[in-house]
Symmetry: D2
Subunit: 149 residues, 4 copies
């Protein structure tokens, strides 16, 4: 199952070339990530964090941009999980415009106890939700060419 969040490329997201400035994609991913929690828990992401005492710091990320997102574009951000362990989850993001793939990203988050600042296993209620979004992923970001050959 994929969660889908729609986003508009705003004036403040676009650079002097009229194209979305690449750090903004990660803000969109986090917005879609939080929206997925809201949809799944019927609570705000803030409430889920407060009740579980579990935070989700990013530990690894990869992104590939295939086509530019332009000022004014309406994009769909698909969210799912490609890998789930006791203490980590790799969230996948696919940014599409009219079905065409603009960007593909993976962001691995780890469970962290918010007050004790130590790693923690995902609480059962969170794990149960995450399991719903686990999906075999055939189109992940290709970062092999970051360092050639």
């Amino acid at each position: 199952m994929r969660f889908v969040k729609e986003a508009r490329v705003r004036f403040g997201h676009a650079d002097p070339a009229g194209i979305a400035y690449y750090p903004r994609f990660f803000e969109w991913f986090h917005d879609a990530f939080e929206s997925m929690f809201e949809a799944a828990f019927q609570q705000s992401y803030a409430e889920v964090l407060a009740s579980s005492e579990c935070g989700f710091p990013a530990v690894q990320a990869a992104c590939e941009w295939r086509r530019p997102a332009r000022f004014g574009d309406l994009v769909q951000i698909e969210v799912f999980i490609s890998r789930l362990t006791e203490r980590s989850a790799t969230f996948e993001y696919r940014v599409k415009k009219e079905g065409a793939l603009l960007a593909t990203a993976s962001v691995k988050v780890a469970g962290m106890h918010l007050s004790q600042h130590r790693p923690m296993a995902f609480p059962p209620n969170i794990r149960t939700v995450f399991e719903r979004y686990v999906e075999e992923d055939r189109d992940h970001p290709d970062t092999s060419r970051l360092r050639g050959a």
Copy 2:
């Protein structure tokens, strides 16, 4: 050769856990990237773009966060190039605090003609500068664990 840009984790960079929100790292990388141009060309990044008509959109990125950057931390962002071709360069970023590595990232940019919006080879003066920063890189972001095994 590495270019080094110092940055302070500002109030607006930090999240409710007091830790730098991960999309901010990519803004720091771009700031360090632009500062490197200023240092190398003795012109603003904007002037280099205007005179060369060459832009540098990100096409791939990878980042690994090893230790959190906290509100108030003073960090050094090291910039160098791990791979250079006619039309692309992979910029490496190392975020350090008192010598300890907090984050390591690679961002591959491609040459793009700013008015014609097509790929272009880096102009010779830009290539010459990029060559100065090329370095064998032994500590690149490990994103192998993004997906299984």
Copy 3:
């Protein structure tokens, strides 16, 4: 008539005190401003700018924060116009949570020709839309206490 845009205080909007970092409010205002255009023109803000060649740079702004917006809060941003002239419009923003006023702001924008970078009167189709949102405003930001007395 007021246009209303709903917004959630995201993780990346909140500071280490768990409260929305004040510059984020202006990003919400611009998002609500662009959304108002979309609702009124059935086009993206980008399309309205492109077809009219008219941009809307901010020339003056005032904001008063009465209650904090906290991480996780769901707020309503009301948009209307308190003053309209040939070449300028003062947009009003009211940020409310469950009916309680959190912040009140005014942002005056001027018509600017996008390619010629000179002041221009609002095109008739834009003026007609703006007129729909003009409203007597009884609760504007009080900035009298910014300076003594």
Copy 4:
């Protein structure tokens, strides 16, 4: 006495018109504000907050933009205080390029106890620093034209 912070208009600060997106000014103001603390206390803003338990939420702001700041511009942000009371301070910001005034702003902050979330008087060591920056201010933002007449 004025504290001066230099800033470069970065690619990510500029909009599709090549001009600094107005919410970014408030981020620059906060950066200059934090830098002033560092210069005055020889500690990070984070350390001053932690040791004093006093935070500085914005309660009112006004800004007037007189000339655009363009991508690549190097600007000087002057910081001083136009009004100081037991529990509040109005910080003034002047953004200049080669001596020309681009923007002028006032941001009133109130003392807030960080753990108890209640108003508090500025601690003596902070007040002493603030007093150094108090200055009669002859060129404050004119927001009179936000509304009619």
